[in-house]
Assembly symmetry: C2
Homo-oligomer: 192 residues x 2
């Protein structure tokens, strides 16, 4: 029987990662996020930092990587995609869990009993949150949010061919800025 897995896709700064952890804690199941990156690193020999930078296309070369000619074979980003897909599949086969990000909804589409969640908030609410949580002061937070959104959308679209942020791609989408983190946790946990 397939395991029940909650996948959480989220806009940068929306608190999706926090929500994922709190849901997992409430349900007594593991939550995977940074852990996945570490496992990718162990399996691939890439350094954790390298994968963190390339994983969702955060490095300088992210756009050229994403749209480069693949006739010379897969890019490093492609290799990471395959490795992380294998790891996500293995984790989902092992036990029920929460997986934040990494296109887990797409990777596991036929491999788990999924509840696919999308967490979003207005750019203004997200800017408030990243300044409060991470103390970000380097660049204008709204700029940073727009840039992160663009990257996540492009990455997601390239590897899954699904439009990121379309309500139809998720079982439940929540505005964490309007509803609050705690209420989002309640709603998701109540659906499990």
């Amino acid at each position: 029987m397939k395991n029940r897995v909650i996948t959480i896709s989220r806009e940068f700064g929306s608190g999706g990662r926090t929500i994922g952890k709190m849901v997992a804690q409430r349900l007594g199941i593991p939550c995977y996020d940074a852990e996945i990156i570490e496992k990718i690193a162990q399996e691939s020999g890439y350094s954790g930092d390298y994968i963190k930078n390339e994983g969702e296309g955060a490095g300088d070369k992210w756009l050229s990587n994403l749209f480069s000619n693949r006739s010379m074979g897969p890019t490093n980003q492609d290799k990471i995609w395959l490795i992380q897909s294998r790891i996500i599949t293995r984790l989902a086969e092992k036990s029920p869990c929460v997986i934040v990000g990494r296109c887990a909804d797409y990777v596991l589409r036929d491999k788990a009993d999924l509840l696919n969640v999308f967490i979003h908030a207005t750019p203004e609410k997200r800017a408030e949150r990243i300044v409060r949580e991470y103390g970000e002061r380097d660049a204008a937070p709204l700029e940073r949010i727009r840039e992160k959104d663009r990257r996540r959308a492009a990455y997601h679209r390239f590897y899954t061919d699904l439009k990121w942020g379309h309500a139809q791609n998720y079982h439940i989408s929540l505005d964490s800025g309007k509803l609050g983190i705690g209420k989002c946790v309640d709603l998701i946990a109540s659906l499990y």
Copy 2:
């Protein structure tokens, strides 16, 4: 003080109208849907049927109406839009309520304390539902769903400039096919 209003946007066949009625009943507040059409009819002198056909662009001329040159003045559809916007505003000022469809989320964006809901489901689930609920047998139900979706999206986009079905435009979006009608009602009512 602004009234709390739940707006429900929905894909054809997703059960959004039923969910709206059940939420309103649970909360003891009115639900407006067909009632709005009737009020539009009374105020405008148009027949109820005419408005039903033109309101979301279901008539034969819907596309030509939507994209026609407005240098000759507003189309009938434009007039209906204005009348129905006034009625929705008046209803929301009168008391807390649920309003299904009619771009109420957009019309009331500065005029009420809104909880904006989007109800969707896969085309297959919706086809099942319309056959079961309405006994539709005339055309292929999947065809009918695609056509209705196209019309609602075009109408919504034209009058609101918001993309229909984008999770970011709603506070909560729910897949009624996956979660079930009753669970959707529970979740929405719990947020009020």
